[in-house]
Amino acid sequence: MKLTGAQALIKSLEMEGTEVAFGLPGGAILPAYDPIIDSPIRHILVRHEQGAGHMAEGYAHVTGRPGVAIVTSGPGATNIVTPLCDAYMDSVPMVVISGQVASPMIGTDGFQECDTVGITRSVTKHNELVMNADDIALSIRQAFHIATTGRPGPVLVDLPKDVLQTATEWNWPTDAEVAASLPGYRPTTKGHPRMIKEAAKLIAASHRPVIYAGGGILNSHAAAELRQLAELTGIHVVTTLMARGAFPDSHPLCLGMPGMHGNFTAITAMQRADLLIALGSRFDDRVTGKVGAFAPDAKIIHVDIDPAELGKIRRPDVPIVGDARLVIEQLILDVRATGPQPDRSPWDRQVAAWRKEFPLHYDEPEDGDQLKPQFVLETLRDSTPDDTIVVSGVGQHQMWASQYWRFEHPYTWVNSGGLGTMGFAVPAAIGAKVGRPDKMVWAVDGDGCFQMTAQELVTASSERIPVKIAILNNAYLGMVRQWQEMFYDERYSEVYLSPDLPDYVKWAEAMGCVGFRVETPEEVQPTIDKANEIDDRPVVIDFRTDAREKVFPMVPAGASNDDVVVHPTQVPLGSPGPGRRPPRTVQ
C-alpha cells in the first residue's frame, strides 16, 4: 500500500492509539494536516503552540497515555520548547511532531527554519530528524515506545516537508523490529532481588522510617501497592508535589507534602527519620533544602527506574533500579518474610504530637480584609466531588492548592513541579478535561499565571471543553512578592499587577466563558455552586484575595529543613528555636 509520508504519519499515530492531538498548522507541517481531515483522531486547534504542549501534558497526567502535539517548523517548534522541558523535568510521556523545512533547505536559514532537533536535544528524552519517508512509521513507533517506557518523557519527531510529501510503502514495524532498532535502549524494570531483600532488612531494623513517595509511584501505577506497603509496615508516607494523590490524604499514615512549603510534620519526620524509603522520588532541592543537612541520621533506600537518579544527590545505602510497582510488590513479599515490624510507638507518638502542634494554619480574616486564598480553596475543595481533577499553575496558589486540597485518588492533581512553568494551569486543565471528560476539572490559577496562557480558553470554548478556572487574584506575582517581603526588606520590585487590569470577567466573557467575580466570603460558596452547574462552556471566577497572605510553612532557600518557618501565630512567644524560628519580618 503506497501512502504519502504525511498519510503514513497520521496512520502511525492512529496505530499507536492516539485519540486526540493538540496542535496548530503552518507551512512546513501543512502536508500532515490534510490526512487529519479523514482521520478519527480528534485534533484540537490551539491558539499558541505552548498551549498544545501543556494540553498534551495535562492529558498524559490524568490518562497515563502519551499526549500528542503537532506544530510547524521554526516558531511553532520554539514555542513548544517550554512544554517539552516541563514534561522532561516531570517525566511526562509526550510525543511532539514538528514540521521542518524541506530537506534541501535545511541548513540554509530558510523561512521558518530552525535547528529544532538541536534546540530540543537537552529538553527531550529523545528526538529524531527523519530524512526518509520510509522511516516515518518506525520513528513514530520508537517515539511512543521511548516516551512511555522506562522513565517516561517527551520525544520529538522532526519531519521535513518534502519527506511528508514523498510516497512510501506502508510498513508497520513489529515490536521486535522496534527493539532491534534501539540497541542502546533497554530500561531495567525488575529490581535486583538481593537489594530488595536488603531493603526489607533495613526496614525491619528501623525505628523511625518514612516513605518518601514521588511521582514515580503515579508513573508506575503503584498507588495500590504503596498503600499495601504502608499498611503492612505501619510506616508514614510523605507525598511530594508530584505525588499528591498517590496516597490518600485522609489515610492515618499520610503526612502530606514535604519540602519548601510542605507541612511541618512531613518535613520534620523526614529530618528526624533513621530510614527514608524513597520510591520514585529524586531528592529535589525543593524537598531536601540544604542537602548536607537533609535527614542527617537517615539511611536511604532509593528505588527509581532511572539509574542516574541513584546517588545523584544523596548516596543510597540500598540502591534499587526498577519500576516502583514491581519493586514494591517484591518488597512486600520480602517484608512479610522478614517477620514482624519493630515497635515504633514512640516515633508514632512523636509524629502525632508534631501534627497536633503544627497543623496547617492561616489567620481568620478581620473585617475589611480581602478573601483569604486558603478559605477559597477549602470551600472549593468541600464543594466539589473528591475525584475532582485539580490543575494548578506555579506560585503561591499552587502551594496552597497542594496544601489545602485533600487528595484521595491518584491522577487528580496536575501541576508543573520541576520546571515551575507559570501559565501551565489553563492549557493543562483543558488537556486533562479532554482526557477525562467524565470528571470535573478545576484549575486553580494565579492572576500572573492566568495572563500567560489565558488565550487557550478560546480553544476550550470553541471545542466545548468545560473547564473551570479559579483565579486567586491578589494583583501580585505573589510568590515573588513573598520573597521580597521576607528576604528583601519589603522592597517590592516589579511584582504589582493590578486586580482590575485586565478585567477578568469581561476577558472570560470575550473568550466565550462565563465569568464571575467574588469579593466577599459570603459569595464564595454560591458562586462555586453556580460554576459547578455549568457544563457547556468554561467558567472563570475572579476571586479577589488578600495579597498580604504568605505561604507557610516555609524553608527559606538554601536553609536546612531544621529551620522551617511556621506560620507566625504558631510560634510560641519567647521560644524561637529549631523548627519555630519566626520570619525576619511579620506583617
Binding site: V117, G118, R121, S122, K125, H126, L129, I146, L182, P183, G184, Y185, D306, P307, A308, L310, G311, K312, R315
Partner: protein, 178 residues
C-alpha cells in the same frame, strides 16, 4: 605544553550508534551537566552500525559514575565502559612540525629511531614527524624536541581498549603477599 592529565583522569569508552547527531548528543550532555572533556576521539568500529568514542575526563569518582549513568541515558548510547589507567592500553598519535636545518636533522632522526617514530614530510628548514604511542611517551617526545623549536603540533586524543586477561583460568594465585 600538553601537561600530563592529572591523576584524576578517567577514560570512558563509549559505543554509540553510528548516526548523525550522536556526537552532539554526547558532547551536549557533558556541556549541559558541567563536565569537562580532556580529550575525545571518535571513529567507527569494525561493525559499521556503531562508533566508539573514547573520552578522557577529569573528575572525581562520584561524578564519573554520574557521567556514565547520564551517558547511558542517551538512547543512541549502546555501551559505556570506564577504563582505569591500569586497566587499559592507551595510544595516541602525534604529528609535529619542528625547525631542523640540514645539520640538526641527524639528531632528530636518531631520536625518532629510538622512540619508534617516523618522518612524514620534509621541508627546506622544517620536518614533520609522527609518533604513535602511550600518551606519556608523546609528552616525553615533545620535551625532547622542544629545543629545536616546535612550529605546529597536533595530537589526536587518546584511544583505548581494555587490557586483556593475562591469567590462565582457574589457577590459584600462588605466593600472594599481604
Amino acid at each position: 605544553m600538553a601537561a600530563a592529565p592529572p591523576a584524576l583522569h578517567h577514560t570512558l569508552s563509549v559505543v554509540v550508534e553510528n548516526k548523525f547527531g550522536v556526537l552532539a548528543r554526547v558532547s551536549g550532555m557533558f556541556a549541559r551537566r558541567g563536565y569537562n572533556i580532556f580529550s575525545l576521539a571518535v571513529a567507527p568500529t569494525d561493525d559499521e552500525r556503531f562508533s566508539r568514542i573514547t573520552i578522557v575526563v577529569d573528575a572525581e569518582q562520584t561524578s564519573v559514575e554520574q557521567m556514565v549513568k547520564q551517558l547511558f541515558k542517551l538512547i543512541n548510547v549502546v555501551k559505556v565502559t570506564e577504563l582505569g589507567p591500569s586497566e587499559s592500553v592507551e595510544r595516541e598519535l602525534l604529528l609535529l612540525t619542528l625547525r631542523a636545518n640540514a645539520t640538526e636533522r641527524g639528531q632528530v632522526i636518531e631520536l625518532l629511531q629510538v622512540l619508534g617514530g617516523s618522518i612524514v614530510d620534509v621541508g627546506h628548514e622544517t620536518l614533520t614527524v609522527m609518533l604513535a604511542d602511550a600518551p606519556n611517551k608523546l609528552d616525553d617526545f615533545e620535551d625532547l624536541v622542544r629545543p629545536f623549536g616546535i612550529t605546529e603540533l597536533q595530537r589526536t586524543g587518546r584511544v583505548a581498549l581494555p587490557k586483556l586477561d593475562k591469567s590462565a583460568p582457574r589457577r590459584p594465585v600462588l605466593g600472594k603477599v599481604g
